[in-house]
Amino acid sequence: MRAAFSKAIVDAAKADPKILLLTGDHGYALFDDFRKALPDQFINAGIAEQNMVGVAAGLAKAGFKPIVYGLAAFVPVRVLEQIKIDICYENLPVILIGDGAGLVYSHLGTSHQSTEDIACTRAIPGLTILSPGDRFEMAAAMRLALSLHSPVYLRMGKSDRGDIHSAELILSAGEMLKVGGGSANTAILATGSMVRTALDLVEQGLDAEVWSVPSIKPFNCKQLNDIAKNVDLIVTIEEHSIIGGLGACVAETISISSTLPVCRIGIEDRFSNACGTWDYLLKEHKLDAASISYKIHEFITRIKIGSSVK
């Protein structure tokens, strides 16, 4: 996925000299190709993310198209106010890349983990939020972001989970993509790294259809309602807090149109207790495949008991 990202920005910047890449002193190897090919379009803004985003706003106001890169803990979370006031209020064409979203920096601890970035960006008007799940979605998300000419936050999470698609695709804003499972009574809506996990669960025998949600905002409410019409249960899975993320977005939408139960699976309202591998931390937060499977079955049992009590 990172190679797809690197290729996307190099190709885009070669085609359009107005595209500038700004980084807050992060991306040492990631930007080798960009720096070599386009040194005049590369700006290392130093370890000063707030200024970097303000500078990007100024560049955009003057006609440039900045792509601002940082770790998700810093871009967008540390610079939220700059995104709100300097970029989104003026609807400037700035693409913000938050790398290592979720628990990717599992050994480094809370400062580098980002499980609240969707929640805090979702409420900012005019900001598109993209969360690709593999290299094909990444390439499509970058093409979409570059075509919008408005603010975009692109969330880049665990990037080495393999493909979920088999070919290049075109993504439109808000679109969900069916990636697995047949016609089932349960629809799993997952984003980023958790799409692969959802597919793994189906391969292990869970009867569910799997949808990837690479565009969290805007969100295609009609498409969700169409999916909801054909199932008894919607499950959301995300490497993000269950507060304010994809699950919240789905629950908010469903609550208007249906009484369908929504099982939101993500990181509960707490920080990581310890450090370890990414897989270890997923288990600690009960986001590994076995824990998720257990949670889904537990939820279904609870619903059944609830219905029988009625």
């Binding site: 803004a45 130093g46 200024n51 706003a57 100024g58 106001k61 003057a62 209020y89």
Partner: protein, 268 residues
């Protein structure tokens, strides 16, 4: 009467503040001469178009002084009197802090420490595009408490933005009191110099001194960003407002409005 007459600009501010029953009069008055000189002699708007691509940029990073800028935008012909007269009425467009949606205002400020970075970005854009545009950023001395100001200064020097002119409206006050009592700033000229700026200190109400500093600094195409530390008086121009921080918060009454206007009619 010369263009951008400081007494007229202050009268416009008072009329707005009285019409809208608003605050922030003191911090608008301290930067009037700075604005007057910039609009009169330095800011270039080809075709008198505030959105001309090749315009100079004026960033009011201390957005609290925005009534002073509104008065200038009115003189430029970009804000009709009816909007000034309806300041703060329900549904009106002009807000109490600099707002990027108002044509002529480059940034949305009020949350301090934002505008300078945006201005630095615009100055960098001019350098990258190889134009001769300048960016003037008016910042408050209280605003220098914000860490982003120092991030922006480092960046401006590193990128050799000698087309950036930072003007500090050093009126010595911030919201809760004197800057020297809230957060000691020391010599801002020394600090800007230490950060690699061409920096001078002047009387911020002496239009000749402002003009001279701007002309001299802009002539130095030496790769160093510029800073003018303008010593000013909060509430300047009306005797009972000068140095009185309460005029950051106080609204005009019929009596105080009348007394202030009378002083500005008489003032030389």
């Amino acid at each position: 009467m010369s263009e951008f007459n400081s007494r007229q600009l202050r009268r416009t501010v008072l009329e707005m503040a009285y019409a809208g029953s608003t605050v922030h009069i003191g911090c608008a008055f301290s930067l009037i001469e700075i604005l007057a000189v910039l609009y009169r002699n330095h800011l270039r708007y080809p075709g008198n178009d505030p959105q001309a691509v090749e315009r100079d940029y004026l960033v009011l990073s201390k957005g609290h002084g925005v009534m002073g800028q509104y008065a200038c935008l009115h003189e430029k012909g970009w804000l009709p009197k009816s909007e000034l007269d309806n300041y703060f009425s329900d549904g009106s467009r002009l807000k109490g802090l600099s707002d990027g949606h108002v044509v002529g205002c480059e940034v949305t400020s009020g949350s301090l420490g934002h505008g300078l970075s945006v201005g630095v970005g615009m100055a960098l854009a001019a350098k990258l595009a190889k134009t001769d545009q300048h960016c003037y950023a008016i910042v408050g001395d209280g605003e220098m408490n914000e860490g982003t100001m120092w991030e922006a200064m480092l960046f401006a020097t590193h990128w050799s933005l000698d087309n950036l002119v930072v003007i500090v409206d050093e009126n010595g006050f911030q919201a809760m009191g004197k800057t020297s009592e809230v957060m000691k700033l020391g010599s801002l000229q020394d600090k800007f110099s230490a950060f690699g700026f061409d920096a001078v200190s002047i009387d911020g109400h002496d239009e000749l001194a402002i003009e001279s500093a701007l002309a001299q600094l802009k002539a130095n195409k030496n790769g160093m960003p510029k800073a003018i530390v303008a010593r000013t008086v909060k509430g300047k121009g009306v005797s009972f407002m000068e140095h009185q921080n309460i005029w950051h918060y106080t609204r005009l009454t019929e009596d105080s409005f009348g007394a202030a206007m009378a002083e500005l009619e008489c003032a030389q």
